[in-house]
Amino acid sequence: MISGKEWLVPAAVLAGMTGLPTVATAQDQQENREKEAAVDSLLARASVALRVDGMSCPFCAFGLEKRLRELAAIDTLVVRVSDGLVLIRAKEGHAITDAELEEAVARAGFSLREVRRVATP
């Protein structure tokens, strides 16, 4: 009953996991460009904004928010999941260092690609 051929399915999937193509279609690339443009627009209005790689669901984002809220200097924050973006406002008179942000994102299991700060009036 066990022909052995069944092994081909999981073996092929596991073997190909890291090498699976990240090829995007032209439409995908266009959508990505539009999303990136939207992110840039949001970034322009933030006091501190993080670009975070690896997020893909609200459950993931909740974990990230959980970690960031452990930083005492954070007043409010918004996680934009599909944009890979976190917008932060620090408490008055408090500062958040890049190192603190990087550590919080890493502890949440994600990768911090960029920290962008905008001088507020």
């Binding site: 009953m1 066990i2 069944e6 092994w7 399915v9 999981p10 073996a11 999937v13 596991l14 996991m17 890291t18 699976l20 193509p21 990240t22 090829v23 995007a24 990505n32 790689d53 690896g54 997020m55 893909s56 669901c57 609200p58 459950f59 993931c60 984002a61 909740f62 974990g63 990230l64 928010e65 959980k66 970690r67 809220r69 918004v78 996680v79 934009r80 999941v81 599909s82 890979g84 890493a106 502890r107 949440a108 299991g109 994600f110 990768s111």
Partner: protein, 293 residues
């Protein structure tokens, strides 16, 4: 029949690049993100095999993550087992309910490559269970109940699983391959088992604005287990072990940022037993996952 399901399964994996979401019901995930810490998962699974009905309800706690690439779990199942009278309208010949074996596991993601709205990860899971469940239940007429009716396995078991997760936007795939062995209990030893799973996932909607967005995840899993023959005092036990595989459609609904409700139905498609054994029935399961802030 079996060949047709394999063809359908492979076709299901074929279209476009294989991109995905995480957290399938049965298949392991290589994610070690913060939602795997300070969390709680509970579900109930109904299993029927001939006259034996089993309801397993593991309470899984995700206590802590000592490192961003390591998570741990502790699981204690509540087990209900029932042996029915043969024939239509038969009553209950035997039933038993209580805690099963305590299980622990640790997951280490040794390869992580994050990207915009996606990730590629490989992890290894070391798991084991302790013989904390009772194995001395007796039948009504006296005498120890047979092993399949006991709540515990009676022996330490452990295994190692390799897991891969690939997420790209609203699509994802998870796959795992694990090997498990059990120690001897009174000269009896269950056969070593190799488990393999693949889960393809689709998240709806495609665009998730923030953590309050309600999303639905659709899953199609393939869950297979190859078991060797059990042995008694070093000799193989006939009519044990074989290859069992299920196709498991399932769905998850993220109701709140910290609450997820899930359901799955495992439909047996391969029951390649050694010798003569009773077939497994369909296995429905429902549950939830909750994250403590």
């Amino acid at each position: 029949m079996t060949r047709r399901f394999f063809i359908l399964f492979i076709l299901a994996l074929a279209p476009k690049p294989l991109l995905a979401q995480g957290l399938p019901f049965q298949t392991q995930s290589a994610l070690t993100t913060a939602f795997e810490e300070r969390g709680f998962r509970a579900f109930s699974m109904l299993q029927r095999r001939g006259d034996v009905t089993v309801v397993v309800s593991p309470l899984v706690v995700l206590p802590f993550a000592p490192h961003q690439r390591i998570t741990t779990t502790v699981a204690l199942p509540i087990v209900y087992k029932r042996l029915s009278e043969r024939g239509a309208g038969g009553g209950v010949r035997y039933s038993n309910v209580g805690f099963g074996d305590l299980a622990v596991s640790a997951k280490w993601a040794f390869f992580v490559r994050d990207r915009f709205a996606g990730t590629t990860r490989l992890a290894v899971i070391v798991s084991g269970s302790l013989p904390t469940g009772p194995t001395d239940a007796t039948l009504e007429g006296g005498g120890i109940a047979p092993r399949p009716l006991q709540l515990g396995n009676g022996a330490v078991s452990g295994g190692v699983t390799l897991v891969g997760t690939l997420l790209r936007g609203s699509w994802g795939i998870n796959a795992d391959l694990g090997h498990f062995r059990q120690a001897s209990d009174g000269g009896f030893r269950s056969g070593a088992a190799t488990r393999y799973d693949v889960a393809v996932a689709l998240r709806i909607p495609d665009y998730v604005e923030n953590i309050h967005t309600h999303t639905l995840q659709l899953y199609l899993e393939w869950n297979g287990t190859l078991s060797g023959r059990a042995s008694q005092d070093g000799s193989d036990v006939a009519n044990t072990g074989g290859h069992v595989a299920y196709v498991s459609p399932g769905l998850q609904w993220v109701v709140l940022p910290q609450l997820l409700i899930e359901g799955s139905v495992q439909i047996p498609v391969i029951q390649g037993f050694n010798g003569i054994q009773t077939d497994f029935g369909v296995r429905p399961a429902v549950g939830f996952r909750f994250l403590f802030f």
